[in-house]
């Protein structure tokens, strides 16, 4: 099973400590390496100076042995250098001198060709007993004889110091980590507390207290942004719920109206005797209300299915104008009854890709409305054109339906598309509407990626517009 910390705070602290520890270890390693490198180069430097000093102190005794002036040992600055190991050889490899500190051990063995010829040759070797030394070789002439001088210091002290340094730092590491962990935990807590508070506040917001909002302390930081986003969500949710509440109360109201009619007509009809004709009338009147109820329920079901995304559009590509002709032909008889003229004009080349039934219904509802509200003998104008949009990808067709009916007041232009909304309650009820035609039209157009609305026009003009994406050529 994978190890996993439950809380964000713990996770943040954990990773903080891990990263901090890794950085510290890298830092310690780097520091130790730098120190080692610095000390080594310092040591080589000291050795070079020492070689130069020693060269001046070497001399050949009259019997041909190589010796070194003893006063050198008294040199006060060279106390450290008492540990120096020194060997002098002929370039051929014959050992001429080994100092006491070497205690007979070889210092580097046989010389290789060219050793020490060009300046000071540095290397690190191990003596026979395992002591690691830093060795420097240099060719120097004494009395005209070239001599290979080798001088070395043990690195023991250096290593010892380095190890001490490392141990000290490594001992401090856990302490540093504990301190860092504690600080990190506090810090994470401080950052997360507002989040926790937000969660608690959000928890208190229930469907009955949806108007509550999360307080925003600083709208510009991440948490403030989060709070704003949550508040936006709450707002939309509240609106949706409000709409749904209004819708259910509207539905029950709307269902009650025809039911009330049925009941009254039936009850009153039974109060006294009627002729067969009279009863037929009573029953017929009740059935008319039943038809209205049925229609309303069917429409509501369609809408709830649309809301739930359960309606699949049967899309085909067809000329927009054909659909307009079809619908104008259908609704034409209604216009003729009022001696109105339906005039179709515009671009016949515009094709749509969509569900003909739903789009047709949307346009039919709009046109039916236009016929209903326009005065007798007037003209209803349908204009189809392509409108220019910024995007090159998408082309938009606009259909305007203009009639000479009374203009819809500005404040109602959005609301006429709401379910059950009627501008004039009594009037459209007589016309047999249930107040759902425009909201169905709106849904159908929106489902095709279009929009529907009312245009600003004169007092005695009412213009609906409908914009839909033009079908892309195959």
């Amino acid at each position: 099973m994978r190890f996993r910390l439950r809380y964000v705070r713990d996770r943040l602290t954990f990773w903080y400590v891990v990263v901090f520890g890794l950085v510290l270890v890298a830092y310690i390693g780097g520091a130790a390496f730098l120190l080692f490198w610095q000390l080594t180069s310092q040591m080589y430097h000291a050795e070079i100076q020492d070689v130069e000093t020693a060269e001046g102190l070497l001399y050949f005794t009259p019997d041909g042995r190589l010796a070194i002036h003893e006063e050198y040992h008294n040199h006060p600055q060279s106390r450290l250098l008492l540990d120096r190991l020194m060997e002098v050889l002929t370039p051929e490899g014959q050992v001429l001198f080994r100092n006491e500190q070497l205690r007979g051990r070889e210092l580097g063995g046989a010389p290789f060709a060219g050793e020490g010829h060009s300046g000071y040759y540095e290397r690190s070797i191990r003596l026979a007993d395992g002591t690691r030394v830093l060795l420097i070789s240099h060719i120097h002439s004494i009395d005209g004889k070239p001599l290979l001088i080798r001088l070395a210091y043990s690195t023991e002290l250096l290593t010892h110091r380095l190890v001490e340094f490392l141990i000290l730092l490594l001992l401090a590491l856990p302490i540093a980590l504990v301190v860092a962990g504690f600080a990190g935990y506090r810090m994470a807590g401080k950052v997360l507390t507002p989040l926790e508070q937000m969660a608690q506040q959000t928890e208190q917001i229930t469907t009955t207290r949806l108007h509550d909002r999360i307080p925003v302390e600083n709208p510009n930081d991440e948490l403030g942004h989060m709070a704003l986003v949550l508040n936006g969500l709450l707002h939309r949710f509240e609106e949706a719920l409000e709409q749904s509440k209004r819708f259910s109360s509207d539905v029950s109201h709307e269902l009650r109206t025809p039911l009330a009619s049925i009941r009254s007509v039936g009850e009153v009809g039974l109060q006294r005797d009627h002729t067969a004709e009279g009863y037929r009338d009573i029953i017929g009147s009740m059935l008319e209300e039943v038809a209205r109820l049925t229609h309303m329920i069917e429409t509501l079901l369609t809408m709830s299915r649309a809301d739930a995304g359960q309606i699949t559009l049967q899309k085909t590509t067809f000329p927009f104008m054909d659909l307009l002709h079809e619908i104008a032909g259908l609704v034409g008889v209604l216009a003729e009854e009022k001696e109105q003229k339906i005039i179709l004009e515009g671009n016949g080349g515009i094709a749509l890709h969509g569900d003909k039934t739903f789009l047709g219904q949307a346009i039919m509802n709009l046109l039916d409305n236009a016929v209903k509200y326009a005065p007798a003998g007037s003209e209803i104008r349908l204009r189809l054109r392509e409108i220019s949009v910024a995007s090159e990808e998408e082309r938009i067709a606009e259909l305007t339906i203009e009639n000479e009916g009374p203009a819809i007041p500005k404040e109602l232009r959005e609301r006429v598309f709401d379910r059950f909304f009627r501008i004039d309650e009594a009037r459209s009820r007589d016309a047999g509407g249930v107040g759902l035609g425009l909201s169905i039209a709106k849904w159908a157009v929106a489902a095709h990626g279009g929009e529907i609305g009312i245009q600003e026009s004169g007092a005695m003009h009412c213009t609906f517009y409908l914009r839909l994406p033009i079908a892309k050529p195959e």
């Binding site: 069917e298 299915r305 008889v333 209604l334 009854e337 039934t357 039919m364 039916d368 047999g432 249930v434």
Partner: protein, 226 residues
Amino acid sequence: MNILLIEDEHKLAAAVSEGLAAHHHTTAVAYTGEAGLKLLRNGRFDLILLDVMLPRQSGLETLRELRRDGFHLPVLILTSRDSIEDRVLGLDAGADDYLVKPFAFPELLARVRALSRRGAPISASHLELADLKIDLNGRTAHRAGKTLDLTGREFDLLEYLLVNRGTVVSREMLARSVWKESSRSTALENVIDVQIARLRRKIDDPFPIKLLHTVRGVGFVLREEE
């Protein structure tokens, strides 16, 4: 025709069987699927009207069972759910047609008639009622020897009414059969009313005997009043 009606709603069952009796069908009613199957095994029926929402054994189960038992008679499903899935389920279970509640009675009659004459379509070139005659091939209509000047839509409407003469047709039936629109809308119903009014003006107004009648709250019928 002998019709078996399986429907648990007593009021609806009584109304439907009375309505069918008025159109010369005999109806046996069962209130559960089990009772329906028992009746079916003991009698001879030409058609079943089957409610989907039945207590205990559901309508679809009943349907599957009777199909499994080898009954091939047409079945018309009555359902209060009309989502496409529900229709597909019903047709898959072996139904021949479905009708969504609340249905108009003329609609039910029309479906019953359609199912009973399935496989034997009526092909006439002339239809007539009293002194009204139409020629389906020439698409002309005459009344009392006078030619009626009808538009295409008016002719289709008259033809449909004549085919169903004597029975009431609802607006939904007209919308579907004459206007080929599957969805109901107020606009279309207004259109239908206007078209009926115009047709009446042409075929009835000039003549003393009226043939096209409105049955308030139900629909329209073409018939000779006694």
